[in-house]
C-alpha cells in the first residue's frame, strides 16, 4: 500500500516537472548561444548536424553542440564560418580531424586501426551463438543417452522382471 502511494507521488512529481520543464524528459539541452545561430535555417541545420558529431576536447564525452566550454563554442563558430563560406559538411569535419585526429569524431571511423572495435562485437556475438548451440546440442545428446540408459532394462533386470511376472500369473 505504502509502495503504491510512493509510486503515485513520484508519477505526479515527474509529470508536473516535465510539464514545467520539458527538457527534464528530453535529451540534454544544446549549448548553442542564440547569437551563434546562422540566419539561413538550412545552413544552421547542417552546422548543428556537424557539431553533434564533433567531440568537445575539454569535456570529452560531450559533443561541441552540447558543451558550454569556450573551446567548444569557438569550434562551433568555426564550423558555422566554414559552412557559410561554402564548405561541405565533410570538408568541415575533415578540417577539424586534420587538427585533432579521429578522436574528435564521436563516431569512430571504420578503418584498419578500428577494425577490432567495429567487428569485435559481431564476432563475439557469433562466437557466443556457436558456443550456445554446441552446448545445447551436447546436453541434448547426454540427456537422450542417459535416459535411454535409465529406461532400458539390463539382461538381469529383464529376467527378474519376467520371473516376477510369471510368479503372479
Amino acid at each position: 500500500m505504502r509502495a503504491l502511494v510512493v509510486a503515485t507521488m513520484m508519477g505526479i512529481f515527474i509529470t508536473v516537472v516535465s510539464a514545467v520543464h520539458p527538457e527534464f524528459l528530453v535529451s540534454p539541452s544544446f549549448a548553442v548561444n542564440p547569437s551563434e545561430v546562422l540566419k539561413d535555417p538550412a545552413l544552421e541545420t547542417r552546422a548543428r548536424d556537424v557539431s553533434q558529431n564533433l567531440r568537445c576536447l575539454v569535456c570529452q564525452n560531450q559533443s561541441i553542440d552540447d558543451s558550454d566550454a569556450e573551446l567548444a563554442r569557438d569550434l562551433r563558430l568555426l564550423v558555422r564560418e566554414r559552412i557559410k563560406a561554402g564548405d561541405t559538411n565533410t570538408q568541415v569535419i575533415d578540417y577539424v580531424v586534420s587538427r585533432y585526429g579521429d578522436f574528435v569524431l564521436l563516431k569512430p571511423p571504420f578503418k584498419a586501426g578500428t577494425i577490432v572495435l567495429w567487428v569485435g562485437p559481431v564476432l563475439a556475438f557469433i562466437g557466443g551463438m556457436i558456443a550456445l548451440v554446441l552446448y545445447f546440442r551436447r546436453r541434448h545428446q547426454i540427456t537422450v543417452a542417459s535416459s535411454r540408459r535409465l529406461t532400458a532394462l539390463s539382461e538381469d533386470e529383464r529376467k527378474r522382471l519376467e520371473k516376477l511376472m510369471g510368479d503372479s500369473s
Binding site: V58, L71, D74, L78, R99
Partner: protein
C-alpha cells in the same frame, strides 16, 4: 571430449590475462593527453596580430630558419603561471626563442597586464582571441608547447606546464638534435 573440457577450463584464465595486459596499458595512460596528429606536419599557415600595447605579432614564416618553441598561454590559465618562471629562465639562458600565442583573453588588456606583472619570456606574441590559432594547432588546453624545426615543421608537442625536469629529459634533447639537423642542412645546401 575430456581433453576439450580441460582446455576450456583455461579459457577464463586466458581472457583474464589478456585483460590484465590491456588494462595495464589503458589505465596507466592519461586519457586527456591526446597524441597530436600534427607531429611532422608543417605549422598551419597563420598570421597573428600583436597583443595590445605591442606592434609585432607573428606569422608562420617567422618560425622558419630557426628552431623555436611555440607556447600557448593565457592570463586566465593557472598552469601557465606555474610554468612561467621556467620560461623566464629559458629566456635568460637564451637557448631557444619562444613564440607565444596569447589564447582567449576575456579582455584584450589581460594578457599584456599579466606579462607586465610576471615578466615576458617571449620573442614575439600573437593574439588569438577566437581560438583560430589554437584550433589550427589542435590545442585542447593551455599551456601547450610545440617544438618547431628550422623548416617550420612541428616535431613535438608537450601538454601541460613545462619545467626543468621535462626540459632536461625530453624538450632540451629534441631542441639540440633539431639544431644539429639545421647545421647539417646548411652544410649540404
Amino acid at each position: 571430449m575430456k581433453s576439450m573440457n580441460r582446455t576450456l577450463f583455461y579459457v577464463p584464465l586466458a581472457i583474464f590475462l589478456v585483460m590484465v595486459v590491456y588494462f595495464a596499458f589503458g589505465l596507466t595512460r592519461d586519457a586527456r593527453v591526446l597524441p597530436s596528429v600534427l607531429i611532422n606536419k608543417p605549422v598551419p599557415p597563420l598570421v597573428l596580430k600583436p597583443i595590445e600595447g605591442s606592434v609585432r605579432g607573428f606569422s608562420t614564416d617567422d618560425l622558419k630558419n630557426q628552431v623555436t618553441l611555440v607556447n600557448v598561454f593565457g592570463s586566465w590559465c593557472i598552469a601557465c603561471k606555474v610554468e612561467h618562471p621556467f620560461l623566464m629562465e629559458l629566456k635568460k639562458s637564451n637557448v631557444v626563442p619562444i613564440y607565444g600565442i596569447d589564447w582567449r583573453e576575456v579582455n584584450r588588456k589581460d594578457g599584456p597586464a599579466w606579462l607586465k606583472r610576471f615578466g615576458d619570456p617571449y620573442t614575439r606574441i600573437g593574439d588569438d582571441p577566437k581560438s583560430k590559432a589554437a584550433i589550427a594547432f589542435g590545442v585542447t588546453g593551455a599551456p601547450e608547447t610545440f617544438i618547431v624545426d628550422h623548416r617550420g615543421i612541428i616535431r613535438y608537442k608537450h601538454t601541460g606546464p613545462l619545467n626543468y625536469e621535462i626540459w632536461r629529459s625530453t624538450i632540451g634533447p629534441i631542441v639540440d638534435q633539431l639544431r644539429r639537423d639545421q647545421v647539417k642542412a646548411k652544410g649540404t645546401s
